[in-house]
């Protein structure tokens, strides 16, 4: 379960604005978090609190494959990203590093900046406590749920390499 205050952005939020390339010489999550969203929302890094939620529109995370982008969001304390759709590499990266994401066009359209929102990522239920609205997202297929339950692809692959799972 994730719960927090919403930071809301529009369509096509690209990974260059999530974490500009001028900071990519470092891959330390905390250093990246200090500059997260800087080019479209300079106040984000100072205002975000643990548990807070990002809501984007269509094609969230488009552009560069840099895993530094979901790493920066995760390290900034964001507990979940809700979007109408995600760009595919960002989607993979988020699943692989254990950043909770939910694809739900209705929620992405209705939820406003500053709303208090909670997300039950297992059941796919999103609740906007400010407006009382609830939204249902399609749950992930079992294969992706397994990666999420292991806490990311590295843990799952390690279990596979050790013969724990087939």
């Amino acid at each position: 379960m994730s719960a927090g205050t919403v930071f809301k952005y529009g369509d096509d939020v690209d990974t260059d604005v999530i974490i500009p390339a001028r900071y990519l010489a470092s891959s330390d999550p905390a250093a990246l978090a200090a500059h997260c969203m800087e080019d479209i929302d300079p106040g984000f890094a100072g205002a975000v609190r643990p548990g807070d939620i990002i809501v984007g529109g269509r094609n969230f995370g488009c552009g560069s494959s840099r895993e530094h982008a979901p790493l920066a969001i995760k390290a900034s304390g964001v507990s979940c990203v809700i979007a109408a759709t995600f760009a595919r590499i960002f989607f993979r990266n988020a699943i692989n590093i254990g950043l909770a994401i939910v694809e739900c066009p209705e929620a992405a359209a209705a939820i406003r900046a500053g709303d208090r929102v909670s997300v039950d990522t297992d059941g796919g239920v999103i609740t906007d406590h400010t407006t009382g609205g609830t939204f249902r997202a399609e749950p992930f297929p079992p294969f992706m749920r397994e990666i999420i339950e292991y806490g990311g692809l590295v843990n799952r692959t390690r279990a596979k390499l050790n013969g724990v799972i087939g």
Partner: protein, 417 residues
């Protein structure tokens, strides 16, 4: 049911007789690629896996190209992490500065990509190799770490969009304009989670370099991959570069496409993408009021020898417009040498351009030409997002080498012809 090129490659690599869109597969990897920004994260995650070594030291390519030659101390440390890992693991395809180049120019040039192969790279423009009839897709660093250990990747079989090309481009119009027109037509998420298959009689009129440029920007439509059929142009390119055998796949007559787009290339204008999305396209002739501060010619999209040659033919004997800075980024050492031997480098330098070593450099605001606040750049690169090439208040117009060269001479955006 028939299969598309992408479905056939994915089925073969997953050991299945057939696959259909939506199916999750675990597929074998023919080449796993990373650069100096993504590889250090992959190497860190690889260490956490506890794997003894990489799955195949001849199927991994590590190419430092983004912040190299090292732009600062942190970049130098990253490059060292990659270099030491390559040495420890005995990675065969590690390329040191001087022998390296922009990864998506270098990999095909070195014969490391071939038809029918499954290639993943921790770089979004890995889709470039679809030009050769391979399935090639960008992934993240963690995906790449796991693939380096296991030789496998999880993929969801994408539905395919078909782009039927007819005709040939007009003078001053090339592959870049065709793909900019496509991005403008379907949007930056028009092919999200999907495969883009290019086909039709017009393919024969596209050079190999044009195909690389087109496949390169499939990701700018959100696509998983972009793929071309294999023909005589492809085979001629591969001859002498590729020693190992490869498999050519063509789509079945009854393959299922989610949608088909018909594009008459003879009707495509010289295009630009205005700030701040690649889909924000317009004819170059409509942007003639835009004054420019800098022109960049090169990158994984347009840094090949024919790109530089076309631009050089326009600028030869002329000078950059007053107040305009010009930067040329050849893709690889061989391209650089070709540019020297053909007098291309000389034409650029005489015109007032900086002739850079091969690097991604300013494309992602790294080095070698970062933009200041308020500056406007015409660039043959692939992205014009906010802050992409420097200050968040700078502006990037994407264009072909021909349009970039003509604009550099004029001082404002204009098509070459």
């Amino acid at each position: 049911m028939g299969m598309t090129i992408t479905e056939k490659i994915l089925a073969a690599k997953a050991g299945l007789a057939a696959v259909a869109p939506g199916r999750l597969i675990e597929a074998g990897v023919d080449l796993a690629l990373a650069n100096d920004i993504t590889a250090p994260v992959s190497i860190r995650e690889f260490g956490r896996l506890g794997a003894g070594g990489v799955f195949d030291k001849s199927k991994i390519a590590l190419i430092p190209d983004h912040f190299t030659p090292n732009k600062d101390i942190k970049s130098a440390e990253n490059a060292r992490i990659v270099r030491e890992f390559a040495r420890e693991q005995g990675i065969i395809h590690y390329y040191e500065v001087g022998f390296a180049g922009i990864e998506h120019c270098l990999v095909p040039e070195e014969g490391l990509a071939a038809p029918g192969e499954l290639i993943i790279g921790a770089d979004s423009h890995t889709c470039t190799y679809g030009a050769l009839g391979a399935f090639a897709a960008g992934v993240g660093s963690t995906d790449l770490a796991c693939a380096m250990a296991t030789g496998k990747v999880w993929l969801k079989v994408p539905p395919t969009l078909r782009f039927r090309l007819t005709g040939a481009t007009r003078p001053g119009v090339s592959g870049k304009d065709v793909i900019l027109a496509v991005v403008g037509m379907i949007g930056v998420d028009g092919a999200l989670y999907k495969s883009m298959e290019f086909s039709g009689e017009g393919v024969a009129n596209l050079t190999m370099d044009d195909r690389f440029t087109i496949a390169n920007m499939a990701v700018e439509c959100g696509a998983k991959n972009g793929v071309f059929p294999v023909d005589g142009v492809t085979r001629e390119y591969l001859a002498g570069r590729r020693i190992a055998p490869y498999t050519e796949y063509s789509p079945d007559g009854d393959a299922e496409y989610e949608k088909t787009y018909d594009i008459d290339m003879s009707r495509v204008d010289a295009m630009v993408s205005r700030p701040h999305l690649p889909s924000n396209t317009a004819a170059a002739s409509e942007c003639s009021g835009v004054r420019i501060d800098q022109v960049v010619i090169g990158s994984c999209t347009n840094g090949r020898l024919s790109d530089l040659r076309k631009a050089a033919d326009i600028i030869r004997g002329r000078r950059l417009a007053e107040g305009v800075r010009g930067i040329v980024l050849p893709g690889t050492r061989r391209i650089y040498l070709g540019a020297l031997r053909e007098g291309i480098a000389e034409a650029f330098v005489e015109a007032g351009f900086v002739f850079s070593p091969p690097t991604c450099g300013p494309c992602l605001g790294g080095h070698m030409g970062v933009l200041a606040k308020g500056e406007v750049c015409v660039s043959t690169t692939n992205r014009n997002f906010v802050g992409r090439m420097g200050h968040p208040e700078s502006e990037v117009y994407l264009a072909s080498p021909e349009t970039a060269a003509a604009s550099a001479l004029a001082g404002y955006i204009r098509p070459a012809y």
